[in-house]
């Protein structure tokens, strides 16, 4: 009765602002209906997503081999001293389970601040896009890697100068015989737009060396840019290893795609379980800044590589959302009840 009376009162009379604190008893109870279900709906939608991601992520095969060589037991330990050039080392590892489908080979660096402002700026996109004037007169942003011995550096800047130049090779060690080399595909590791739009060799004749005439190689490089690869489609600025390196990483610990191991047939796994060896040509020093170097092999799913965080995060949000929904429901109910009794007692 009291509620009916109140409701009528609200509709007929003025707004509930009559002086004298009657406001509290005059609350209509329609808010719970519109806002509370949101929490449950969010929960219901996110449950399948979270579980899906979590399961998928767990099914992805991934192996990570650290070959920095700071531990004295590591075969690459010998390469830490700068005298040994070139330095080769081999690391053996075992795949417990076979890797199916395309397998991706990454190199990973840690504690490498590719996202430092001065570093990120230190490049000339015009030069990399094949602009001939920028080739010979790189942007000031490239300082101090702009000129060397009065010749413009191509590609200029700190990013290019610090390009990763280890060579990694993978061998399957059979039961008895020779190690079988695994075919590593160099091309197809860069974005299409990078390879075809953003990076271009300077214009000119067929000879790439000719086109880069008048420039010099970055200080730290062993070879000039036009000798990165023998394949003319993968040489100069459009060398995919170079392109991948030039796409700077967001965080100081990062991976970059190194090679593709393509699936051969549906019947055989790409990388069967077994013993493997990683042959490293160790050129890239990371120990002086406490960096780490890793080689990663990974398969891929509908949502990309292994990513346990997303699945867990989704499930966490689901739980919080349900919890909030329940807590709010309880509070709302309790409060509503008390206000109703207040109405009745009046």
């Amino acid at each position: 009765m009291a509620m009916n009376y109140n409701a009528k009162d609200e509709v007929d009379g003025g707004p509930p602002c009559a002086p004298g604190g009657t406001a509290k008893t005059r609350r209509p109870d329609n808010t719970a209906g519109t806002e509370l279900p949101i929490f449950f709906i969010i929960g219901l939608i996110f449950i399948p997503i979270g579980i899906g991601i979590f399961v998928t992520s767990n099914n992805i095969r991934e192996i990570e081999i650290d070959y920095t060589g700071t531990e004295s037991s590591s075969p690459c330990n010998k390469c830490l001293s700068p005298d040994v050039t070139p330095c080769f080392c081999t690391i053996n590892f075992t795949l417990e389970k076979s890797f199916e489908g395309n397998v991706f080979m990454y190199y990973g660096l840690s504690n490498f601040y590719q996202n430092h402002r001065r570093y990120v700026k230190s490049r000339d996109d015009s030069q990399l896009n094949g602009d001939s004037s920028a080739l010979l007169n790189p942007s000031k942003e490239c300082e101090p890697y702009r000129r060397n011995e009065d010749k413009p550096i191509a590609p200029c800047g700190a990013i290019a100068n610090s390009m990763f130049n280890d060579t990694l090779e993978l061998f399957l060690i059979g039961n008895d015989s020779y190690p079988i080399p695994i075919a590593l595909k160099k091309k197809g590791i860069a974005w299409w737009t990078d390879k075809n739009v953003k990076f271009r060799n300077p214009p000119g004749g067929d000879n790439l060396e000719e086109r880069f005439k008048g420039t010099t190689k970055p200080v730290n490089w062993l070879k000039p840019v036009y000798m990165l690869d023998s394949d003319p489609d993968n040489n100069g600025f459009i060398n995919e290893d170079f392109i991948v390196w030039m796409r700077t990483a967001a965080l100081p610990t990062f991976r970059k795609l190194y090679r593709l191991i393509e699936r051969k047939s549906d019947l055989h796994p790409t990388l069967p379980a077994g013993r493997y060896s990683l042959n490293v040509t160790y050129n890239y020093p990371v120990h002086y800044f406490d960096g780490r170097k890793r080689m990663i092999l990974s398969t891929i799913s509908w949502m990309g590589g292994k990513n346990p965080f997303l699945g867990i995060a989704y499930i966490a949000v689901v739980s919080i959302s349900f919890l909030l929904g329940v807590v709010l429901l309880v509070i709302n109910h309790k409060y509503r009840n008390s206000s109703n009794t207040a109405d009745i007692t009046i």
């Binding site: 974005w191 700077t248 990062f254 509908w302 990309g304």
Partner: protein
Amino acid sequence: MFCSEKKLREVERIVKANDREYNEKFQYADNRIHTSKYNILTFLPINLFEQFQRVANAYFLCLLILQLIPEISSLTWFTTIVPLVLVITMTAVKDATDDYFRHKSDNQVNNRQSEVLINSKLQNEKWMNVKVGDIIKLENNQFVAADLLLLSSSEPHGLCYVETAELDGETNLKVRHALSVTSELGADISRLAGFDGIVVCEVPNNKLDKFMGILSWKDSKHSLNNEKIILRGCILRNTSWCFGMVIFAGPDTKLMQNSGNSIWESQTGDQFRTFLFWNEGEKSSVFSGFLTFWSYIIILNTVVPISLYVSVEVIRLGHSYFINWDRKMYYSRKAIPAVARTTTLNEELGQIEYIFSDKTGTLTQNIMTFKRCSINGRIYGEVHDDLDQKTEITQEKEPVDFSVKSQADREFQFFDHHLMESIKMGDPKVHEFLRLLALCHTVMSEENSAGELIYQVQSPDEGALVTAARNFGFIFKSRTPETITIEELGTLVTYQLLAFLDFNNTRKRMSVIVRNPEGQIKLYSKGADTILFEKLHPSNEVLLSLTSDHLSEFAGEGLRTLAIAYRDLDDKYFKEWHKMLEDANAATEERDERIAGLYEEIERDLMLLGATAVEDKLQEGVIETVTSLSLANIKIWVLTGDKQETAINIGYACNMLTDDMNDVFVIAGNNAVEVREELRKAKQNLFGQNRNFSNGHVVCEKKQQLELDSIVEETITGDYALIINGHSLAHALESDVKNDLLELACMCKTVICCRVTPLQKAQVVELVKKYRNAVTLAIGDGANDVSMIKSAHIGVGISGQEGLQAVLASDYSFAQFRYLQRLLLVHGRWSYFRMCKFLCYFFYKNFAFTLVHFWFGFFCGFSAQTVYDQWFITLFNIVYTSLPVLAMGIFDQDVSDQNSVDCPQLYKPGQLNLLFNKRKFFICVLHGIYTSLVLFFIPYGAFYNVAGEDGQHIADYQSFAVTMATSLVIVVSVQIALDTSYWTFINHVFIWGSIAIYFSILFTMHSNGIFGIFPNQFPFVGNARHSLTQKCIWLVILLTTVASVMPVVAFRFLKVDLYPTLSDQIRRWQKAQKKARPPSSRRPRTRRSSSRRSGYAFAHQEGYGELITSGKNMRAKNPPPTSGLEKTHYNSTSWIENLCKKTTDTVSSFSQDKTVKL
């Protein structure tokens, strides 16, 4: 410039009439005025200089300079310069237009024509060409071109009348008279041309009521005072022509000296701005390098971006247009819309705590109407319906038709036909009553060219009474010093005026003694009931109590009442008395006392006739407005130049004073000591009562009483009112009493200051502004309110009145006082609400946006690397998120306008500044920080070792930037969608449109084409395409959005559920209402309860009786018709008081006012 040299030199001014060469050597300013700030050449430098004096602009200029240093620059220069140039250009354009209009009005004034005597001939000259020393001719109703020494005029004795409304707001005419030597010159051009007097006088100053100088002419010196000077800005009235000699011209005139320098006028709107400004600077102390510090300053400057300032201005502009466009504030009768003359103060309208209001013209219409009367114990003027119930007078009721009487005043309306019937039936008492009204007054009559009777009244009350008598057939026709002629129901009757017992403040009554054609001598008296009732013949007892009841009833309705009585006099007795009066008049000692005694003596044994009730017509809706504003906890102070009685009467009439008030303190001390004593007493009284009151309650809760003293100010219960007059106020405003006054005044519900000068009005406002730290609003209509309007934070002018001064000085103007309710409770409240919401959201948004850089700093070696693309940073605030927040800032409303008006309590949060204060700001910042954490760490976790669907790595910086930018845009859009409580079509378009625009710009900037043109500016080529086709990126964006919005929704839900504010409740109610049925029409507000109270108000001034009997003010000829004033058919003629200044001036009468019993 020589101009300033001259200023230093001038110690006195020497002007020779008709001698331009002589005057030229002093290099006096000519009559050209300049109120404009710039000309074409100086505009750019001066305007830029002024603009960069603003803190905000200077700050952004510094930022720009920092960004130009390559070692520091973490953001490119265009992120700052684009908006900065935009802001500066917009302001410059606005300043230029303002100045253009000033130029235009200057030109218009400078090109007005006036007749100047040059080479012995009258020539038309432009005002700007008038020089000091020139003699100019003015005609009736012309504006005075410069400060003139009056030489001669058309009126006898070189009198002339001026209206000084533009100078001091007084609409009554003032008299100026020329020296007798110069008034002889008349209109004789040749003699005027030969006038070569030299005036030596004070230097230009701004004192309107003071002038000192000496005229040397024909070997004799004449001293000059203010009476001889006509000031620029006055209007010549009732004088067909006059000649004057220019003393001060152009910028030297007192008007211009008073108008202040517009160039350095401070901008109040900046207050709000500077508050916005305090968070900046100190957030980068952690960082090692000095350069990095500056780099982070640049990055983090987006917390307070220029777009904030632009948006605030745009929102304010929008709100101003809402005020201008509001049909409910449009006064259709005069076709005057409300105008927001400044755009910077709208949100302060939502925080007003004190309103200072003028009375005349603002609360009241300054129109007196004869409403009721009680004749011989019967009330006339009430309207009864068929059931004999009293009803409200409505427009539909048919008024008494006076059209049959040719002399009737057409404006007059009376709704009771019984009175007419009584007159027709020849009720002698009724006739006597009306005869008295037609005889006992100080009104002067004149006939205009059309033969219409025009009354010149010195008090509008009397005008109302005489006009009423006229409409009922007792027409006052004319008077001479000895006779009064009236037309009684068609027959002319001339009464001999034997004596005139003038009004004064102690007597509070006036009487005339007349002999009618039959030879009977009668004394007619009207006056305050309390006084008159004591003088009645004992036989009146029954009638007295009856009339007394009627009076209470009239007074209860806020009407001004007068009691009316007569006495038949014996011829012999009168002769004796008259002789004694003549003796007393001739006496040198104790003359006034003796006269007063004689007056007392004859004004006794009166026969009561009845009472009149005149309404000082309130403006429409004043009562409702005052009631609802006081419900909104706004204190209204009335500051009026009127008399105390009048002010109090109006206080009651508009419900500011009520009978339920616990106490009304009247402060009317004559000197500082008295005033202090009275204030102290009042305070004691107030606290005392309160203590006693609380003691009764607190017996059981002793603890509370201890606290009581400290918080007594808040716990004052009951309503109090303070009434203080100008004389006391002058003392009370002295430094040591000031605080007492303020303390007392602020605890009172109503404060009325009467008899205050314009300066005191301003002082009162300043006092409150300074010590209460409250937002104040002053509202007024006349030039005398200008100072008050200018001192208050917000000035409101009532437009549509004669003078424009108040409107020009004001920030807002509209035609009716009642619109104040809507301006404050609807527009002010909304503006404040919207601005706060806007600021909250804006800070939230920018903290969320900017702090991500800070979190990123931990992972990029604090190198000040930005998370986002430079373009995104540039466009985020001005393109991607500006429009939705603008739409919210402009259109949002929590409750509808009707409910805002109906619930004045909703206004209170604004006064307490609850919607945006440090705490709210802190909450917004926390919200922003939380969102930025979610925005950064969810992508961080996801990107830690992510790979794309095609295996190509996507954990690169650019993908990271795009992911975060996209999440940010979506999160803030969702957030504003949640914040918006009032959805319009525009909100939808802006919010969803912004997201669409974000994506289209993103894809454009990441496209091949644009990269091909500017490879260095758009290095993100192909990024959107690659990143936004990855499922995991979208999963990250979805998660980020939900995670950052969900807790806010929960928090708000809890808040509304557990601690709903009034506006929450009303909003819900509104929703329920909408569902239930369309809103029904509001019930009408109950009219104030009629209280019984005896009051009276006399707007009379002393001294008129003498004037009338002496005949000084009676002109032989009829004056030319006065323009502009015919409508009211009155001419205020208080100018006469200047002719016969008495020693008993108004100031000394204050002490007598004190005796008034309420």
